[in-house]
Amino acid sequence: MANKISRRSILKTGAALGVIGASQSLLPGWMPRVAFSAQAQTPQHDTLVCIFLRGGMDGLSMVAPFGEGAAYYDARPTLALSEPGSGSDAAINLDGFFGLHPSLSPLKEVYDENDLLLVHATGLVDPTRSHFDAMRFMEYGIPGDKTVNTGWLGRHLQTAAWQNQSPFRAVGMGTMLADSLRGPVSPLSLQSIADFHFRGRADQLHRLRQSLSQLYAVQAPADMLGEQAGLVFETIDTLKQIQSAQYQPGGGATYPDGEFGMGLQQIAQLIKADVGLEVACLDLGGWDTHENQGTIGGAFADLAGMLGRGLHAFYTDLHEQMGNITVVAMSEFGRRVSENGSHGTDHGHGNVMFAMGGGVNGGQVFAQWPTLSPTALDDGDLAITTDYRAVLAELLSNRLNNPAVTDIFPGFEPSPLGLFHSPERV
């Protein structure tokens, strides 16, 4: 099936508006979906959790190049992390050159297990410093092209060589759907598993639901709402089966409070429930630290702490299954090398990406490090020496079993970087 889809049709699906298109299900709505994942006792591909850090996360604080010496410390008199071992705001040593932000300390053990990979000096090669353009290019996956209206994950799901009719195939946690998921496979948006049920007058609930579903069949123009309505009902029914009031994360894991932590926990629940989840997207926003960014205290540290504790809880909760799960986190751009006059940083360029999972070649900071010397910078910003698509291309072919990388990232020639193991070698 993958071979028959032309590139044109992959990129521009449905109406020009980027409307979430029709799923291909020919099966009656009452058929239980939970069976679909059972085809893979040994899964053909990892479950992917894709986290977008919105606002331009400061990679130079997340994974600090303390080994640069003056080039780092002179540029960031109030924001630099101290060298490892030198006090409370010291970076956690990773490899003698790079150090991890102290708020990410829960992840050090994951790094030491070789299940956490950090890629530095990576990102979107397009020169834009606009949040909205950068996010759009990164999520749609074709930098510079504003006509495309499918996301890289949407194209991955479309070109994958297997069928998965589960309504949970692609899930976006939260109220707004990530652009990366846009495509012919209708993603499910989910705020809360516990709250996802239809409520009406108790003695008429069945009749109301029937009327509603009939209304959406006769009144919904152009199929979009009708498909969404169908998905809602299927999801309600499935979630009823897996809903448990007191979910106990495995291994004593504690997810941080808040939307991000709860989002990760619910993704974990869906994975354990075997409902056919392939891709889950989740946001953590607020990284646009133009002023008073702080080092070990402040806005950046709070967010980094949420990210670190959340990822660690997820890793612990799903420990036995992490061989078939990969988590990636990226941001639309990094931030300037030099701090600004308000103890913050402005929009930059090169950044850090995270990858976590059993199939990740972790325990390293991978970078073709351009250095922070002024002549090596890109207009004052960390240069990009590894296109973010190279990281994702290897993820797609080695962990997601999808070799159609040139359809997913047209115009991009990936080269192997050795960041993800092929399944046989795990």
Partner: protein, 485 residues
Amino acid sequence: MKISRRNLLAPRRWFVMASPADAFAEPQSIHFLNRISFGARPEDVARLNTIGTEAYLDEQLSPDTIDDSALDEHLKDLAILKMDRRAVYALPNNEWRIFQTMATAFMRRAVFSKRQLLERLTEFWTDHFNINADDSDYNADLLRLHNTIRRHALGKFRTLLQETAKNRAMLIYLDNFVNEKDHPNENYARELMELHTLGVDGGYTEQDVKAVARAFTGWTIHDETPDGFYFDADMHDTAPKSVLGHTLPAGRGIEDGLHVLDIVAHHPATARFICRKLAVRFVSDNPPDSLVDAMVAVWQQTDGEIKSILRHLFLSAEFGAAMGQKFRRPLDFAVGAMRASGTTVYVQWIMEEMLQSLGQMPFSWHPPDGYPDVSSAWATTDGLLARWNTAMRLTHGAQSDPEWGYGLHTDLFARIGTPATVSALVEAVGEQVFGAPLLPSAAEPFIDFASDGQGGNRTVTPHLLAQKLGSLFGLMLASPLFQWR
């Protein structure tokens, strides 16, 4: 044979609606009112039929001529609205209280104001000049800006632009208050051009961003001035600058920033960017170029006067052809549902809970681009379920369920008269929800529900009303026909 799910679910006798225009006898009236207001009301349809579209439109375009004193009754308990900004900042916990007041006032104005088009424009500009209020220390100034926007919403764009540039909330939100000659901060300069005026494709360069930032150095805040704005000459970069091909000579002060506002307000890309946004708001997600071109021409002739541009829009053929093409955003849905059902929410946290579940809390969008305005952003599974549940809560819940209806007040019985048959009942409820009764073919599914399959001639008894009235209202509000306008 391919069996589509559609055929499995729809009884063959039911009429499949090709377009919302098939649901009403006078679809153009419904369409017009749904776009210039937050939802067509039967009394508005009656007035429209009496005075005609142009007169109705001209009335709405001159809001000062419309008596809105009834609205004041609904706002009188919001004391903060009448307080001076320094008095407000002196209140304990003022940021949260102002936020609640603003959100409540927004909802009540949208539901009850007779100056509906003015409220729609106020919402439009609030999105356009987005500032979030849920996590900030400038809310009294944001409230002031919101009211200023309302005053100028139908006037000249240049006026609006200047009010936003000098507002203390905007200066803080986009960091211009720390923009100074030795350490310029580019955030406001960039968003001014990318989001407020030219648009990201408007043709400005990174050099322009840097120059505009320098032009606005010194535009900062101060605790002692009446409105919180202060131009600090010591912070200002007086060197010459070149912005979008214009020269800003050396040695000037606040004039640099004012000059930039003139340049960007009058740039041709700005006219296009804003006219297209207005067309997306009021016509369709992908408005025809012919309409945008014509609106731009009006912009040039009137120097960016919004009411003239809108007059053209609402009388255009492109507008007339666009019925049912805009998807109600969650706030639109909530306001529309409240107008339709007459339900009021008198407990603040209930309103907040409802709007959070729908996915759109006023003044809570953090990035400066404002809430998206296309259907693909809002037509999600979670959002759809939240609408169905909200529809039921505002109707059946409010009418008959003490627990679920807590914090809500309604009287659905008072809105429907005394229909004798289920057909008449559905007609009456339909008129309240949509502004006009549904044509028999569109009414079928609702008649089926309300009569338990027995048909429109079934007699309406008090028992039937008690059983079905709330849910019938709710079903109409949850239906696809109500999601599209």
